[in-house]
């Protein structure tokens, strides 16, 4: 490579692009005006600094904070949360006399909590910082003067620098292309990071600069670029280049964007025009929207409810307090004289009870503030971080091939993973690997190819598990276990491999077929000089697959010059390899409208051949009457191929005579050079004239290779009740193929296709009045949607699921405000939805529509930059950390390496996290209500004066020390059923989708449980420890003793409630739960032992008063059991009579029946919802189809008793299924 040995082709001949010809159009007149003011002095660093044009360096910062802003900004973030702000206010107020407790004791927990959150924030930002550092310190070659190029860091680049970018390197900033190793100064660019498109883009420099192909040329290079200001538009660019006293216009054709990659080109020279945050990519980067999970949103509501309760009970307290206080002084006589109401502060002044009551209200707000769990947010944050570590550490989500484990980038959406209702998936790179494999072909009406497609493999695997071994024996012959050894080629058929095709009946057709594959394309061969092996670089992977297939089948394409294509092909006569070259006369390019491409070549015998390949929809109508020999068979084959998700192309050819060709060529060249508005149409017409009367050769079937395990994963997700929509930028045909391959579509499914790509709309588009045309198209879309809607409402959906396929142009209209409800209703009614040809924006809009209108949780998954909008819009964005392209990953919430890991991510981690977080929050509220209400109950006996029942430090450490760790253990480790069972019973996932574990019913249940517990604790305590002596020594109970006893009971009850409600005890849970209780006693001892000036009321209270009193211990035991009893009774009854799904699975596990496959299958079958997509559904559907066929047979033949039986079984099963729905 380094020596530039590769032949320098003038590819501009192959590609009919018209670059570098941009003239000074109107927009160029804007240059220099407002918005187009940038002036770049190329290669003149001194001049740039002189002229005060400082455009900023190339340093890119994506962190949220800087060192200076961290403290204020993150503090602000912390106290933006209502609860934290409330605690801040409390902390400040606690230094005033209204406070029921000492200030210090209240500030410490808040400090701990806020500091913990800030540390977490800091660590996260630090990680981003490291990424920035990596990015900013990448190296690129920069011109240092005197023609010397030297490595420099990206961050040090300046506007005007000349850089040299080598093959497969990223562009460090937005560059203007000056020259490349190709003489015509073109280069190939991969923009996958920007728009997700994998095909290479061609860029070409201006002619004037194209000669600068050596480092030394730049010694005296000077140029001035004037161009637009930085903006976010990726596809436009306006500027001009002043070079050698010539003003030349610059277009997007010369612009190389940061984050795209140089491909197929050894090196380029470019001049930096936008740096750092001015680059188009960075201008496009919006701040990732901060996402919050549904649970957190609901949690906020609960907190508001708790605030309401707090205010309510404070209000009650204040009113009583006010009345009591005003009563204290009656006509100058003191009632409760011991309070000295005659000489009092404002807080207790009986003369102004209203003021006293209002001030008391503040006190009460602070006192009952323990209802609101101060540590809730920080605990949840800690738990979520730990949960994401588990996700990151999961060995089963590690993909060895790319060495990528799963990576949870934001941790605050873990539980949302357990509630996904709709998945919106990208296709290329997500479902498919974006590699095509030549897998089957039909030549001369004979189907070749024994390779099994992914979907066939999935189906047969499914069949095995569903129907046992009977079918396995039948299928083993069909399934090939070995993976293809050659990338892009998975074809097995000894009939035509290794030159055996010669012996086939239609050998000449096969020869033509293979030759066509080898000739009709735009790929470029690359010969490895050492091994002589040929590899290809093609614009699209399916094209590469064809050439590779041709090579493997004996037609090796090894050289392309400007006008010839050379093959090494097998000569059927001699049986030897001979080299043949074809003179390439014309390339009639592929376009999405034409759906075909053709080449016209002259072979060595001088015959003129038109070789053509294209989609069946356009090709069959172009076949000559006498070329239809194999049409019937071919059509049948391609429908089979399409059903199994293969991408098919029809190959046909025709011989031209000289006269015809000359006529065509003349017209063609004329038309090409025509400068007129309808030039394209004229060319089109001419080309159409030549591409007709073709002779059918056959069809190819290329598998758009699905990623590993995709069909199974989709099936599992469907069983879990998750809907999957495919949003792709690809062609409709491809999208439908993939739909079949993933079992989202199947035969017998009614496809509703809404397309604007009809001849009718085509003609509409040509109308002069654009707005009228648009309106007409829109009404056509609405009509199609309405029609579809009636199908939806009238169809018998048991046997015929619906699939909606809509293309991008229609989608534009369907997403308009007045239509989108109709569209959404239709889409929800359909089993699968495929949106093709959709732009990144449309993907985001569809996602938003689903999210907003249905209110259900959406998950978007994609790998390309074109999915970024969708990922950010969805409730959860999952990025596929594929082979390359970090854009999607960077804007995703969780990155995984393969689509198949979604299954484990959702069904296992999602379910667990959802369950953990929801139980954790419920439990949090329970424990705080339990604690808070004991305080309230006590107030009733303390004339609502605001005196706390407990010591100040007991109060403030409750949430931080004695109850926090078990909750965290619950949030991190609890699991209802093991991961295996989660996957075995996917329906378990519905607990999350329907939000059963965090329903208001459940939350209120827990809150009530808290109130009941606290009532039992308080009233049992005061009744057992009334006024009589509580020890043998005659001592009576005082505030200290009652407080400590009650607190002990609360600690016991709350921790044992935890032990009761979790279902997974590892040693960690044991340590935390029992440890918390023990720690309370240790604390009581330690705190009571220090000097009474610190410990005040807690001084020696345990060792002197409580521990020697049997009644203390017996009270604790009584209250513990009594307070847990209501929950225990409820739980036993519920488990026994109304078990939830996870509890039934626990039963099954407990009874050891998980190893009994029949039994498990029974349970699973009975609980599985009728899935409408996926391999399971497909299998069911095909069984039904077979069954109905059998029924027909059995009516006619009396000897088919057994078949009838099996048919009965099949219909029985479908009955069960329909019941289940």
């Amino acid at each position: 490579m380094a020596g530039g040995r590769r032949r320098r082709h003038h590819f501009s001949r192959i590609h009919a692009f018209t670059c570098g010809k941009a003239s000074f159009k109107e927009e160029h007149s804007l240059i220099g005006g407002p918005g187009f003011s940038r002036k770049v002095y190329c290669n003149e660093p001194e001049r740039a600094t002189e002229s005060l044009l400082s455009y900023g360096d190339n340093y890119v910062r994506t962190t949220k904070y800087t060192l200076a802003t961290f403290i204020p900004k993150s503090l602000f973030e912390q106290f933006r949360r209502v609860a934290n702000f409330y605690f801040l206010v409390c902390a400040i107020l606690s230094f005033f006399p209204v406070s029921p407790y000492s200030g210090i004791s209240n500030v410490v927990p808040l400090l701990v909590v806020v500091a913990a959150s800030m540390v977490k924030e800091f660590i996260e930002d630090f990680r981003r910082k490291q990424q920035d550092i990596e990015m900013n310190n990448r190296k690129v070659k920069v011109h240092r003067g005197d023609g010397v190029f030297d490595l420099s860091r990206w961050r040090e680049l300046k506007v005007g620098d000349v850089v040299r970018v080598e093959k497969d390197e990223f562009f460090p900033a937005d560059l203007i292309l000056l020259a490349s190793n190709y003489d015509d100064a073109i280069c190939y660019v991969e923009t996958m990071n920007l728009d997700g498109e994998t095909n290479l883009k061609l860029k070409q420099a201006l002619e004037g600069t194209s000669k600068l192909q050596e480092d030394s040329n730049f010694q005296n290079f000077r140029a001035v670029i004037t161009c637009e200001d930085p903006n976010a538009n990726l596809y436009t660019f306006v500027g001009s280049l002043e070079f050698e006293d010539q003003q030349q216009p610059l277009a997007p054709q010369q612009l190389l964007l940061r984050d795209s990659k140089l491909r197929n080109t050894d090196f380029i020279y470019g001049v930096v025009i936008f740096t750092g945050h001015d680059t188009k990519v960075m201008q496009n980067a919006t701040d990732p929207p901060s996402k919050r999970s549904k649970i957190e949103k609901r949690m906020d509501k609960i907190i508001y409810c708790l605030f309401a309760v707090l205010i309510l009970i404070s209000l009650i307290g204040s009113i009583f307090f006010g009345i009591k206080t005003s009563d204290d002084l009656e006509n100058g006589r003191m009632k409760r004289w011991y309070l000295r109401p005659d000489d009092t502060k404002i807080y207790y002044d009986p003369n102004s009870p209203v003021v006293a009551a209002i001030l008391h209200f503040l006190t009460a707000l602070m006192l009952y503030g323990y209802l609101i769990p101060i540590s809730l947010y920080v605990s949840i944050e800690i738990v979520k971080v730990l949960q994401s570590i588990f996700i990151n550490q999961d060995v089963q989500m590690y993909y060895a091939e790319t060495d990528k484990p799963a990576h949870a980038r934001t941790s605050n959406l873990n539980e949302e993973l357990g509630q996904v209702d709709t998945i919106l998936s990208d296709k290329t790179g997500t479902l498919t690997c974006n590699s095509m494999e030549f897998i089957k072909c039909s030549i001369a009406g004979v189907a070749y190819g024994r390779g099994a497609t992914e979907v066939e493999r999935a189906l047969s695997r499914r069949q095995e598990t569903a129907l046992g071994q009977e079918l396995r024996a039948k299928n083993t012959g069909k399934i090939s276990e070995s993976k293809p050894s050659i990338k892009g080629f998975n074809f097995k058929d000894e009939r035509i491999m290794n030159g055996n095709w010669i012996k086939e009946p239609n050998a000449n057709v096969i020869q033509n077929f293979l030759r066509l594959l080898a000739v009709c394309h735009t790929a470029i061969p690359e010969v490895d000089e050492e091994t002589g092996k040929v590899s290809y670089e093609a614009e699209s992977p399916d094209e590469a697959a064809f050439v590779i297939a041709a090579r493997e089948l004996g037609f090796e394409f090894y050289e392309r010059t400007q006008s010839t294509i050379s093959l090494r092909e097998l000569d059927p006569m001699s049986g030897n390899k001979t080299e043949r070259s074809y003179k390439l006369l014309n390339i009639l390019e592929f376009s999405s409208a034409r759906k075909r491409m053709s080449v016209i070549v002259r072979d060595e015998e001088g015959k003129l051949l038109l070789l053509s390949k294209g989609a069946d929809s356009v090709m069959f109508e172009r076949i000559a009457k006498d070329g239809r020999e194999f049409e019937e068979n071919t059509k049948q084959h391609i429908s089979e191929y399409a059903e199994s998700g293969l991408r098919t192309l029809i190959l046909a050819y025709r011989e031209l005579n000289e006269e015809e060709y000359n006529q065509f060529n003349k017209e063609f060249i004329e038309a090409k050079n025509l400068v007129s508005a309808d030039q394209e149409q004229i060319v089109e017409r001419i080309v159409q004239n030549i591409e007709k009367d073709l002779i059918l050769l056959g069809a190819t079937a290329v598998e758009d290779k699905l990623q590993d395990g995709v069909p199974e994963c989709i099936d599992k997700l469907a069983q879990a009740g998750i809907k999957l929509w495919v949003l792709t930028g690809d062609k409709m045909e491809t999208a439908i193929n993939i739909g079949f391959a993933c079992s989202l579509l199947r035969q017998g499914m009614k496809q509703i296709i809404i397309s604007s790509d009809t001849p009718e709309t085509k003609s509409l588009e040509k109308m002069e009045d654009k707005s009228a045309a648009e309106a007409a198209i829109k009404s056509s879309v609405i009509r199609q949607l309405r029609d579809a809607k009636t199908i939806l409402t009238t169809s018998d959906e048991n046997f015929e699921a619906l699939a909606l396929i809509i293309d991008g142009k229609s989608l534009t209209h369907a997403l308009e405000d007045d239509v989108k409800d109709l569209f959404l209703e239709l889409a929800i009614g359909c089993a699968s939805v495929i949106c093709c040809r959709s732009s990144p924006k449309q993907k985001a809009l569809v996602t938003r529509l689903v999210k907003m209108r249905t209110g259900s949780t959406t998950l978007a998954i994609g790998d390309g930059a074109n999915d970024v909008g969708m990922l950010q819009e969805a409730d959860i964005g999952i990025g596929i950390s594929g082979v390359e392209g970090m854009q999607a990953v960077m804007s995703s919430d969780i990155a995984i390496a393969q689509f198949q890991f979604l299954e484990r991510l959702l069904l296992v981690h999602g379910h667990w996290c959802y369950r953990r977080i929801s139980s954790m929050i419920c439990y949090f509220f329970y424990k705080n209500i339990t604690f808070g209400f004991t305080l309230f109950f006590f107030e009733m006996y303390a004339s609502f004066s605001g005196q706390a029942a407990y010591n100040d430090w007991f109060l403030s450490l409750f949430n931080v020390f004695f109850t926090s760790l078990p909750v965290i253990a619950l949030g991190v480790f609890d699991q209802d059923v093991s991961s295996k069972l989660c996957l075995k019973f996917p329906l378990l996932y519905q607990e999350g989708t329907q939000n059963i574990l965090f329903s208001w019913k459940r939350i209120i249940g827990w809150a009530l449980n808290g109130v009941v517990s606290s009532a039992i604790i308080f009233f049992f305590c005061i009744r057992t420890m009334e006024h009589q002596a509580f020890r043998k020594g005659g001592e009576v109970v005082e505030l200290e003793v009652l407080g400590a006893t009650m607190y002990t009971c609360v600690v016991w009850v709350v921790n044992c409630q935890m032990a009761l409600s979790i279902s997974y005890f590892t040693y960690i849970q044991h340590i935390f739960i029992w440890g918390s209780i023990i720690f309370w006693y240790i604390f009581l001892l330690a705190y009571g032992a220090i000097s009474p000036s610190f410990s005040t009321t807690a001084y020696k209270v345990f060792i002197e008063a409580l521990a020697p009193a049997p009644s203390f211990w017996f009270t604790t035991l009584l209250i513990l059991i009594a307070a847990l009893l209501p929950y225990f009774i409820y739980a036993s009854i519920q488990m026994r009579f109304f078990p939830m799904y996870h509890q039934m699975i626990q039963w099954i596990r407990k009874d050891g029946q998980t190893s009994d496959p029949d039994y498990c299958d029974m349970v699973r079958q009975r609980s599985i919802r009728h899935t409408t997509v996926g391999t399971t559904a497909r299998l069911e559907a095909s069984k039904r189809l077979e069954a109905s066929k059998r029924l027909e047979i059995s009516v006619h033949s009396s000897a088919s008793k057994r078949l009838e039986l099996s048919n009965f079984a099949a219909s029985k099963r479908s009955e069960v299924i329909s019941e289940d729905r």
Binding site: D394, G1034, P1092, T1096, R1149, D1220
Partner: protein
Amino acid sequence: MASSSAAGAGSTDPTAARRNTKRPKYSKFTQQELPACKPILTPRAVISAFLLVSVVFVPIGVAALIASRKVVEIVYRYESKCIPSNVTDRVAYIQSSADKTCRISLDVTKHMKSPIYVYYQLDNFYQNHRRYVKSRSDEQLRDRSEEGSTSACKPEDTANGKPIVPCGLIAWSLFNDTYSFFRGNKNLTVNKKGISWKSDREHKFGKDVFPKNFQNSSIRGGASLNESIPLSEQEDLIVWMRTAALPTFRKLYGKIEVDLNEGDTINVTLQNNYNTYSFSGRKKLVLSTTSWLGGKNDFLGIAYLTVGGLCFFLALAFTIVYFVKPRQLGDPSYLSWNRNPGGH
């Protein structure tokens, strides 16, 4: 059981050996496969739990009840009886300087074994009021040099410009009824030593802190203190300063260290000084023995018996259900989303 195969796959993989791989390290902890017991509420477990509770609770309940029943307690409410019948304004009477001696007699209905604890019981007295509880100075009580730290004690912080020791509302409102007991004509000595917590005497009330300037403010509260006795020995004060938790409370007055026999009549001469009339609080005199559980209170025993009995009943109920209607395994018809189609 659940982890065996995954464990095998993880640990034996040869790629794990490679140095620079990002493969997560396998451990039972990171893969969340720690050995754990997974208790579920099977009928057997539920029934055993209920039975266990009832087996433990019923005997405790019986024992507690017996202990409570053994305690002999004499309660005499005297706040109205000790007011002469001709007095209409009770508050004025109690605040006057008249002689408020009052004689009452108590009948011992059951043999009372020494020590017999003498309590006074006040009703509707909010010693747990926030203003009241906070109105004290622990520093001052403990440390002679902290005499002046009376900031929390308002309005009983200073009198005549000098700090009050002990300051604050609690000390100021010290209970000042006194009782003297006679069996026949013989005086029954009431031991007033050792009625307070030892930690209070030794650590919270200073041995060298003497009452000063006490009850000298404009309004007189309760009892006066002997200024020659250090606070650590003023046990009535120490007992009083431990504020009660509830508005009805008893406080230890002293101990009678002789047995009282059944049929004895105890004559009590009491000075009815303390004003509970303005807030209509009751005053009671209580003589009580103790058991190992403390004083007379049936609640603990009854509660134990109730909970134990309830658990026994529940165990029975669950057992019956268990035998009559065995559980149908994994019946999915219970599932909410199978009951209502659509599920939302």
